[in-house]
């Protein structure tokens, strides 16, 4: 009898705990349903207001009328990003920004009463975009404090978001075309959707240059003067001949085969994808042939970009002659803050290299559904159009900013010399490069195509694929896994 009683008690306890579990979760569901309802109402109201505002704009015809933005209601400004570059710019250059932690920009801060919160997800393995894909579509219905107000995108996949309703046209934020007159045209082209709406702004321009190791240049060419070096790398044939010289001196020409990829891929005549079909441009094929030769001759390695083996060349022991990159690579990625790196000692030089190119760049986009539209608009204005702030960015961070007249003036001014480049002022080179950048051949698939192509070809350079065609097949397999809608 005792046993039975015990078992009754035990099983009651168990079943009860099970039910309790269900019960509490139901409660939670009810709660969240209630919150949803509340949020819905609020959102509806907000949307109505917004619609009214849009109507008003429409009424004001095509003139660049001031847009009446709904008053900011958000207490938290949520910014999605993949590293601390933008966070640092905001911390250092946005007037009135109080950082929570002066050494860690991603810790956020305060602008007036609004708390600034960064959500940083690494770009690796597409994690950053997955996060955006999961969050942005539901942004309008998210709880007020969780609403994404602003997110950052890179050139390689900008079109993916620009061509959707997930980011707001900057015109709807009240930013007029006339305010953006000084920006480089390409930075606007990249963020313009198929209907001609501009949907994001950047504070930087990313024309690339060849960044060379001055020590190596002195040793091999007898001089580290940019003109002397430029003569040695003026076109691809000379570049290859120089690579042989470098090898004899114990230097790798570039860290890896992938370093030169952008110089070829930015100078293509066909985009990666045309009407859903994958295209291999002749210039891409030219990169494969040139890189295979470089790899076979031991002029460079075959490791992935951003790997530890790639960045060994940022230090003297890495014995790498040159990297290809824009201003952000020089100031942000080449370990300039680390004692003992070449950049720290100002040991790099810059010259134009065999071909012009651009790489990356960060654009600021306003997320649809933001409850801090005025603040977002102001951040965009301050960082991308305010000349004083922008020249400050150049001075403080050696960035190349998106302001043509200011940059052209700065190119003549020795006070803008880059310390990492041993006092050289590369801005004139960047200016010339930025004018030439054309983005007519970008697609929303560029990132996947670039990554998978480099990866498949690395297999070819290493000899794991016997022929180019085998490697190409591997590329097609990988790319159709990523984008089932494409054919080849």
């Amino acid at each position: 009898m005792k046993k039975k009683l015990l078992s009754v008690v035990l099983s009651t306890a168990m079943v009860a705990s099970l039910l309790v579990g269900c019960g509490s979760s139901n409660d939670a569901a009810d709660d969240s349903a209630a919150t949803d309802a509340a949020t819905d109402e609020a959102t509806d109201a907000a949307t109505d207001e917004a619609t009214d505002a849009t109507d008003a704009t429409d009424a004001a015809t095509d003139e660049e009328a001031d847009v009446e933005l709904p008053e900011d209601t958000g207490k938290v400004l949520n910014i999605y990003c993949w590293n601390d570059e933008f966070a640092n710019r905001l911390k250092d250059h946005y007037p009135g920004y109080e950082a929570n932690d002066p050494d860690d920009a991603l810790a956020g801060g305060k602008i007036g009463d609004v708390e600034v919160k960064f959500t940083s997800t690494p770009s690796t393995d597409n994690a950053y975009q997955n996060n955006l894909d999961a969050t942005l579509p539901g942004n309008a219905d998210a709880a007020a404090d969780d609403k994404v107000d602003m997110f950052l995108v890179e050139a390689d996949y900008a079109l993916k978001y620009v061509n959707t309703d997930l980011c707001m046209p900057v015109a709807d934020l009240g930013i007029k075309d006339s305010e953006l007159a000084n920006q480089y045209q390409y930075t606007k082209d990249i963020m313009t959707d198929s209907d001609g709406n501009l949907k994001g702004l950047s504070w930087q321009g990313c024309p690339g240059v060849l960044i060379y190791n001055r020590e190596a240049a002195k040793e091999v060419f007898g001089s580290d003067d940019p003109d002397t070096v430029q003569a040695k790398v003026s076109d691809w044939a000379t570049f290859n001949a120089t690579a042989a010289e470098m090898k004899d001196a114990g230097y790798k020409m570039t860290a890896t085969t992938n370093d030169t990829f952008r110089t070829y891929s930015n100078n293509v005549t066909t985009p990666w994808v045309v009407d859903g079909k994958i295209q291999i441009d002749d210039n891409i094929k030219a990169w494969v042939d040139a890189s295979k030769e470089m790899a076979d001759n031991g002029y460079c390695g075959t490791q992935a970009l951003w790997s530890d083996d790639w960045s060994k060349g940022f230090y003297p022991d890495g014995k790498v002659f040159c990297y290809f990159g824009p201003a952000w690579l020089i100031n942000f990625s080449m370990a300039a803050d680390t004692e003992g790196s070449i950049a720290n000692a100002g040991g790099w030089g810059a010259c134009e290299g065999p071909q012009g190119f651009y790489w990356g760049g960060t654009w600021i986009a306003a997320a649809t559904g933001t409850d801090n539209a005025n603040l977002v608009a102001d951040i965009m204005r301050k960082l991308t159009t305010d000349e004083t702030i922008m020249t400050d960015i150049v001075k403080a961070d050696s960035d190349f900013v998106n302001n043509k007249p200011a940059m052209e003036a700065a190119a003549q001014d020795d006070s803008y010399a880059f310390p990492v480049l041993g006092g050289q002022n590369p801005l004139a080179m960047f200016c010339a490069g930025a004018d030439k950048i054309s983005l007519s051949n970008i697609t929303e698939y560029d990132q996947g195509c670039n990554e998978e192509f480099q990866n498949a070809m690395t297999g070819y350079f290493d000899g794991n694929y016997a022929t180019y065609d085998e490697a190409l097949d591997a590329f097609y397999t990988a790319i159709t896994e990523k984008y089932p809608e494409l054919t080849y």
Partner: protein, 304 residues
Amino acid sequence: MAKKKSGTVLRYNRWGYIFLIPFIVVFIIFQLIPLISTIYNSFFEHYFKNGLTEVGPTFIGIQNYATLFTTGDLPKYLGNTMIMWIIGFVPQILLSLLLGAWFSDPSLRLKHQQFFKTVIYLPNLIMASAFAMLFFTLFSDGGPINSLLMQMGILSEPYKFLSHAGSARSLVGFMNFLMWFGNTTILLLAGMLGIDTSLYEAAEVDGATSTQVFFKITLPLLRPILVYVMVTSLIGGLQMYDVPQILTNGQGNPARTTMTLIMYLNKHLYSKNYGLGGALSVILFIVTGILSVIVFKMNQASEK
């Protein structure tokens, strides 16, 4: 009287069912429903264009299976998985048997057994991803292993461990071996300690050598545990994912020779391709089932 007794048994049995409820509920929610929805999804074309624009779901019958078998490299990835599993499993089971035999042998009187058991189990406590990152750094082209080998004069230039199929697969196998041999040892040891010691004493009296004891007494009596270890390891091996994924950055380099079935499945999840992913999972489910039955039958047959 008899009737009353069976009634009591029935009523008493009820408690058994009640105690089963939590398991059944969890099983249905977290296993059965996902399993059925996976099978259901595998008959649809359903993915997201570039992660954002939804395509489908449209019913397309067995089209996904046809695609997998005609265009995918399914056999290759199955082969990769099995090769890397075997590379890890063979040394693992041998070493575990040896360690188990030593630990369970009373005549050896090993000291500090508890300490050693803990130490060999430790690698399993490290996260697979952290372990893979560690190996990635150790064995990178300019990593410490290469510098060590070069300083010792064994190599003249760095060996690209992760750019050669053999070395990359061996690394994956070796890591799985390191991570799991402790676990296997504990399992086998438990099985060995369960064997009646009088059998060993009898064998000793009869003058059997330790080799004979191991092969004639320990191994046959250990069979049920051995089957369990093999089946679980096989299933775990087929689902191998974390180590090669992190070690090769999800690419299965070189030339997809370390790409396992689950890594391949993960590739389809980039575009949230529920259709193809579902079909692949169903195939994996069937393959796992068949292999498990084979291993099970093999052991049963030799028992007779």
